[in-house]
Subunit: 729 residues, 2 copies
């Protein structure tokens, strides 16, 4: 290596000092995403063969240190991997023994805690800081610093500001520093696969059936919860100030920010148990849909609150202009991210439709992965929120692109994102456990913590019960008290709250929030997770509900049972929720229900989606030649894939995700209008993952078979749905 | 945010300067692995809500800059993703139209080149460097710098040394800097999945059948090639010195290093075409095995050459001690990495065997992934080479763990690593294209480049032909001239050579090597890749050879044909290679062949593997109770899984990967020794991926069925193989 050429890391430093060339740090860890807080030397030489004679020894020492550092990184990452391995094995044992009181995320946290304790108290606190160089001649800090050391220039990059009191205290323990990530890792690496998987694995049918309620819970509910928690916490902070417990500033906007981050519920443990016990599908859809969307709302809400910075000098007073600007930011970011996600999904759908990529599943999967990832980057590049975009991209991909994929790619993409989601989620939770002991700036404030627990309880109550009351006014299919209690109970906080809290821990207020969030996550995951099964039984929520959806098609061998209750026992008469689900409610109820739950805007969207979007973006739906006006004939023929004419029958099943399953519907089929009251159809319309084991007994399909698929004229006219505006049962 | 508390990035800097807080840089890109050369501010505040009144404006400006930087990162990563997407779509088109002259890697390079040209000449050269601060009072550089700026302390980390002449010239173009990775990314992120996949997808049967030859080519061949290329290049360098073309030092060790990195062949394009055309399996095995192993050899060789640093002052003279130290390092690193990989594989096999993890494919896949990754970290942590460890881990996993996995996990793991491999490989190749224009320190030396092309040609010739001659002395199944020419022709250089070359580009010599390597990769991939199909036809190498291996089980619908040759034409009489493969050679040839190719060490290993390792690590093989001595009875019973007794028949098929397929074998079954000359068995022993479509007609299985599986006494004795030491056909 030639001296004086290109980057050579500083040689000859005090022994025991942290190694200078940490270029390996940000690399190794990255497969799972790990952004240690260190600089990467650009084209730094790693192991120069030829060195100046005089500097050879010096360089060797440098190299040894770099190697040492690289080893330490490997060891610390290995710690996490072993932790996850241990979690997987224990979880297997739990699943094997059907232990349900502790979810894998809870377990990951426990193991994280144990390793955190060991690292904290078991490793020596090496005070490995270099003798510092002080330059006091300038009045501003630069991002890049060139230092001339006896004729050689060294380049330094700014790491951050250090408060004067902490110069000698921060980051003394090398090992603790190694296991601390850059907080943005969570947002940019670990959350996207989790959120994408949530969108991609959404059980569309039940989600869209309860869309109105889900949107209400997610948007109104999160906003209400945020403001209630924010205000309650401001009261707590005032109290603390009076009691002299507050050692630094804590503003109203901080409280609101706390309200926003802690409003992101993540009932992962509850949903896992629901899935395992096949609990009520509508309740599942409500909880899952709410938690998925309120993550998005919470992110955007928190960044809007951060953006609420009144222009003038008085930063913490109310300012109408700034407030409306924040509201505008909220709407802008949310709709922008939504658009980005939807557009990328649509582009992927078009690409997979119009190329014959499905002959090469590997290419198809790779394309799917890259396109989904590019959503995130696109949204971030445009200043929107990548995580939110990824969510809507996932939903779009599941709704359109999924239909165009080959059978192999369908399972590949599902499995790929399932594995990524699993690893990322457990990684976050085990890191949470670790962070309780290794994070060096905790601010434990008992009053704040107790206040926060009370506030989140009240915030959740103030959002679930009133909203459910109002929704029940409009819903025919009421959300019963037991469902409301279950939703109230399922207010766990998880990965999203943590990621939002750790993102900024610079100020005293944020540190206190972070510590509190961590404790809230711990206790909600452990206590609520452990209490789900008893709670389901106590609230008389039926489990083992049959739901022949895409995923469950293959698992028809489980039985109806209720936790702790005789499976043959009659359902309580006032519990109308699952009466309807079970198909034993009165016919009129079902008729009304279709009407009530399909609000006009939703019906409009549905017919638009069914008549135009599905045929354009997928191989399913009615041919565009029948749905578009005559003058678009050429375009319609170009956009309609030949499969539509051939495959109308199997592919139309996808549509049944929407409403076709819900009993009454009026079909305009060919020229004859038929009213089909499918009293046996509520559970039967289903989409088979394999494309081979289809149950074909929804009213529409029966109809279709009666009319005869051979009749090309009828087939090519397609179906047009007319929704009943009045009961016609 | 409270001022003076924790990390706050330097505020108030010159406009147009690179943003101070690049904490997002190393994060975003990481999913695919991307280590931009920038510092990550640790717990830097990202968007403080409350700021000191005086610093609010300043902070806002800082935030905007950080956002801007984050956007630029997203855009540059997006560039790569779009590039890959474009590659995928074009490749689909090529595959669709059966165009074989350009492989996806070659295409990725072309697109990379185009984008590189655009970035280089299409973007303005922003001179975005801060006004620099010079501190000249110390005589050594520190890794951490504390700078006191008007009372506030800022922490800086060392990025590297800059040569005085380049202070104003390096990294002027922001965009070019953004698309340049940390070179270690290749080694630590992109290569491991590629190499692991190579090991995991190894077609064991043909690999092990040609193991001796493969090891000879990989070890001796690579060493020979390295020394020949090194010496030739030293001649070229001497010539350049005489001609005054050399502007800086270029030592003999540099030449050897170049020989090592350029000896890593990567015939990815050739193998892809072989795969597609189902070319001769033995030739495939030789090429694939050689390229996989010589990557490992080249890595270790290059680090041994780097380690060859004579202790004294005269760094570049021959030093026997240093030489032997280097040899020792080579052996140590290689065997250490091998052990690491094998041990992790064995541990995974044991875990998957003794837990019932296969009931939960997600957990199983996650565990498999984590364990395989931990090999890499473990090896790096112990100072060995992670990439080499990962290779052997992949082979071990395929040989043992794969048998224990559930059917779903088998396809999941295969598919997962296939996707990762595909993405990583194309990413590297497209980056190579980009690097030709965006890398800022190219040293183009026409003489060196021409010399290198000649040297790699001669190096390859000097390694293939003599080695094949010596191998043919020992091989019954000769490596024909056409095979030798094809191997000679297939000396492409690819990802590994590039990754080794870019790892260190600090010195003049290394920069010249890097540029030359890049050009060699380009031309070999394009020209040889394009010429493979004509070459196969020209060399009369039969394609469309049936090979009912694990992967190809499902694709039996292709036909025998030779490129450009009438498929019905008789094979040339001197081409005995596929005569044996086709099962139409004389019986004696086959008998001899088994003897010749199963050298005693291999037979020893095989019987050890079959009798002890397979039963211990998997559910297959004979029960340990029969193979271990009587006094180990208890241990044997503990280690033998109950499935061995039940599932002997289907699982023993795995063993046929070794030798059972090759005609003659002597079975000691029960108490009766049977010599089975399975003339129809050469293509029939196979392992079905699905576990359902098994062809059960190898001689051993027929035998088994005859003896009756119900006879527990015979079954529990298991099989013991006696290899024919003399022809007994």
């Amino acid at each position: 290596m030639e001296p004086g050429d290109a980057a050579r890391p500083g040689s000859g430093r005090a022994t025991g000092a942290p190694p200078p060339r940490l270029l390996l740090l940000p690399l190794l860890p990255l497969l799972l995403g790990w952004g240690l807080r260190v600089a990467a030397a650009a084209s730094a030489s790693s192991s120069g063969a030829a060195a100046e004679d005089s500097s050879a020894m010096e360089e060797l020492a440098t190299e040894k240190e770099a190697e040492e550092s690289h080893r330490q990184d490997s060891v610390s990452l290995l710690t996490f991997i072993l932790l996850l391995t241990l979690t997987i094995l224990t979880i297997w044992l739990f699943k094997h023994r059907r232990v349900r009181f502790l979810h894998e995320t809870g377990l990951a946290m426990i193991y994280g805690l144990i390793v955190g304790v060991i690292l904290r108290y078991g490793t020596p606190a090496t005070s490995g800081r270099d003798k510092s160089l002080s330059c006091t001649q300038e009045d501003r800090a630069f991002s890049t610093l060139l230092v001339n050391v006896s004729g050689k220039f060294f380049e330094y990059t700014l790491k951050g500001e250090i408060s004067p009191g902490k110069i000698n205290s921060v980051e003394q323990n090398d090992m603790l520093r190694k296991v601390t990530f850059d907080p943005e890792v969570f947002f940019n690496i670990l959350l996207p696969p989790i959120i994408f998987h949530a969108g991609y694995s959404l059980k569309k049918r039940h989600f869209f059936r309860n869309l109105g309620s889900i949107l209400a819970y997610a948007f109104l509910g999160t906003a209400v919860s945020c403001f209630i928690i924010g205000n309650l916490m401001y009261g707590v902070v005032k109290l603390m100030k009076i009691m002299g417990q507050l050692s630094d500033k804590f503003y109203y906007t901080d409280c609101l920010f706390f309200g926003a981050i802690i409003s992101a519920t993540d009932p992962v443990t509850v949903l896992a148990i629901f899935n395992e016990l096949h609990a009520d599908v509508d309740l599942y859809a409500l909880l899952f849909g709410e938690s998925v969307l309120n993550d998005a709302v919470a992110i955007v809400l928190s960044s809007s609150i951060v953006a609420y910075q009144p222009a003038g000098l008085n930063t913490h007073a109310f300012d109408a202009a700034a407030f409306f600007k924040s509201v505008g930011i909220f709407l802008g970011i949310f709709s922008g991210s939504f658009t980005m996600g939807a557009v990328t999904g649509v582009v992927t759908a078009l690409v997979t439709k119009f190329t014959k990529l499905h002959c090469f599943p590997l290419l198809e999967t790779a394309l799917f992965f890259l396109m989904s990832w590019s959503t995130f980057l696109l949204a971030e590049a445009c200043g929107f929120t990548g995580v939110v975009a990824v969510l809507f991209c996932g939903i779009t991909q599941a709704h359109y692109t999924y239909n165009n994929l080959s059978v192999e790619s369908r399972s590949r993409t599902k499995q790929l994102f399932e594995v990524l989601h699993f690893l990322a989620e457990n990684f976050i939770f085990s890191y949470m456990g670790l962070a309780l002991f290794t994070f060096q700036k905790h601010v434990f404030s008992p009053i704040f913590i107790i206040g926060a627990f009370v506030a989140i309880f009240l915030g959740r109550a103030a959002h679930i019960y009133p909203l459910s009351f109002f929704l029940n006014l409009g819903r025919r299919h009421k959300i019963g008290w037991n469902f409301q209690h279950m939703m109230m109970f399922s207010g766990l906080r998880g990965a999203m709250a943590f990621a939002l809290a750790i993102r900024d821990t610079a100020s005293y207020a944020r540190q206190m929030m972070f510590t509190t969030t961590l404790l809230i996550v711990f206790f909600t995951v452990w206590i609520i997770g452990g209490g789900t099964t008893p709670m389901l039984s106590w609230l008389n929520i039926r489990v083992g509900v049959e739901e022949p959806s895409e995923e469950d098609q293959n698992e028809h061998h489980w039985q109806y049972f209720r936790v702790g209750v005789d499976p043959d026992q009659d359902p309580p008469p006032n519990n109308d929720s699952f009466q309807v689900l079970q198909g034993d409610g009165p016919d009129s109820a079902r008729g009304n229900r279709t009407k009530q739950e399909s609000a006009w805007i939703f019906r409009l969207w549905y017919s638009f989606d069914h008549n135009y979007l599905k045929p354009i973006l997928t191989h399913s739906g009615p041919p565009l030649t029948t749905t578009l006006p005559a003058w678009c004939g050429l375009l319609a023929r170009c956009l309609t894939s030949p499969q539509v004419y051939d495959n109308q029958e199997p592919l139309r099943e996808e549509d049944s995700d929407f409403i076709l399953t819900e009993g009454d519907l009026t079909l305009t089929y060919g020229d004859s209008t038929v009213t089909a009251n499918g009293s046996s159809s509520s559970h039967t319309a289903s989409t088979s993952l394999e494309g081979s084991r289809r149950t074909k007994s929804s009213s529409e399909e029966v109809l279709e078979r009666d009319l005869g698929m051979g009749d090309q004229k009828v087939s090519s006219r397609g179906t047009r749905l007319v929704f009943p505006l009045e009961d016609n049962a």
